[in-house]
Amino acid sequence: MRRLYDHMDNTFRKAYDQFETEPSANVWNNIRGHLDAMPQKKYRSGAITKGFIMLMIIGSAMVLYDVLNQTGNNKFLPPGNNIKSTFPSQPAMIAPVEKPIENLHHYLNPNTKNNSKISTDPSKYNIRENVDQLFNIHVNGYEIKHPKVFTTGTGNEMKQKFPLFTQRQIPATSDIPVSYNGFVPYWTVAGIVSNGYAAYKLDIDLPSNYQQMKQISQREKNELSYSAGVYVTYHFHKRFGIQTGLIYSNTQIQIDPQKIYAFDDPDGDVGFQYVTSSGYTFIRPKFSNSPTVGDSLNATEAKHSFKTVSLPLVLKYNNISEGKFSFHPGAGIIANYIISAGLETEVTDAFNRESVIVNKLKGTRNFYWSAYADVEFQYRLRPELSINFRPAVNYAISPITDNNIVETFPYSITAGIGLTYKF
């Protein structure tokens, strides 16, 4: 037997190496037709990618502007002085300045004028109560945190009540350094709901699937998508933070009515094949439970839903603003877990009608990666609470489909609104 098989193998191998045959003329004509019809394959430079790049450029420009603007801050210090304070072991001292402190009025008595010059005489301070809260003073763009509570009272009373004032005298001279240059890391938690436009980019591996790709693209219409999530950011540097969280997204796609045909399915049975951009399924209605290949049914308008749970990892930039408004651009990647890719439709023939609900399409991966960029615009309601508006762009960098006729890369442009809590 072994001898026969060896002889067989050698004979077939020789034939395999030598055999050539001329294809029909149609083959080259078809190839040329496809090459002429298909657009030149380019790197995806559609509007969404341009938007992504624009956000990155704008974010980088904002970062650069902000960083360059910070280098002049020391000019408010008297010459020859260094920024030394290491909070909290040394309470910050307020630098004598020539320029009005713009934000201090938030912490002073409301009657105090906005452009009051800061004074080293504590009796001039009538500071509003902020019980049990960290008390933030913004001086020359630096944020100072005091663990003590300031309250109204004369300077002497304050000296008695609060060690901050009693440990050292408020300097009377104007040539004391200081401005505070330390940073205490902090956390923020944001709850955001978003709504926006979701779509996808289709790609094919076999050129013979081009017509089917076109058909899928023409009969599917994306509806608005929505998402809701919680974002947690750790601000490890006064400029930068790292953000993660958990986001739930739901995208709805409407599919036009179509005729579906019976094919062999991978399990060896015959079913009516329904193909979507996210995957496919084989439908076997009760009224036609043993079709033959080539049979057809009508499928009415369908609803296709696509749900994911996502885990972002984003680098955020913190613009340090003395006003109530601030912006925080960010960019990163998201790990997306597809929890559901389903389909609802009805199939009919001349006499029958049956509803079909498919919870999980075949040919859909469980997981895909996407690139993400956003710009968060925050309006501070209170020192620890801000309302934020967040436009964002999300673009899949790996396909959601596997062994489907098309490779699908979803993307979305969303606008979100929510609240951020800082602690």
């Binding site: 193998d9 395999y16 294809p23 083959v27 062994n403």
Partner: protein
């Protein structure tokens, strides 16, 4: 020619097609059940060649590179059918074909090709990849997403199927020669 194909020049693409189409059509015939299917694989394969020719870095010959694309195209096209369970399972040992009546040496390349085309898709692919391309069962298993054991049993079944076909041809030849 390669640079022209990278640039999308139609005449370079046509020259590439003219140079390799006969050879690749012969290759595609071994993976398909008939000429029409082979031409579909050839067409898709060349479109892929033009699409990915930028990735050809000169490692190995261009023919080997194109050949590999053709094989991958054939496998992708036939992938759904590879999951189907073969209809025949050979449980009994077939009698060996007596050497003196062996028709293997008498068959032309085309006739040998026909024998392979008569196999079911999964037998045909495993037989071609192992015997003609020299791939190991481990590599075939990874490529077709099957187990190594399945690959070996498919090869054994393919050989038996060919042996059965050869046996019936041998007997027909023996009968004919007795009549003469």
């Amino acid at each position: 020619m390669i640079e022209g194909c990278c640039a999308g020049d139609r005449s370079s693409q046509e020259m590439l097609y003219a140079t390799y189409s006969r050879r690749m059509m012969g290759l595609c015939m071994w993976y398909s059940k008939n000429r029409q299917e082979a031409e579909e694989i050839l067409q898709d394969g060349f479109l892929r060649v033009y699409r990915y020719i930028r990735n050809y870095k000169g490692e190995g010959s261009l023919e080997s590179w194109i050949r590999q694309i053709m094989i991958n195209t054939a496998l992708q096209k036939l992938a759904p059918r590879l999951k189907m369970k073969p209809l025949l399972r050979f449980k009994t040992e077939l009698p060996d074909i007596p050497d003196e009546y062996s028709v293997l040496d008498l068959l032309s390349e085309k006739e040998l090709l026909l024998l392979v085309q008569h196999l079911t898709p999964v037998y045909r692919i495993v037989f071609t990849l192992h015997v003609m391309e020299g791939m190991k069962h481990r590599e075939i298993a990874k490529l077709l997403n099957i187990s190594e054991g399945t690959s070996k049993s498919n090869l054994a079944d393919a050989r038996k199927a060919i042996q059965k076909m050869l046996l019936s041809q041998s007997q027909a030849y023996l009968t004919k020669s007795r009549q003469l």
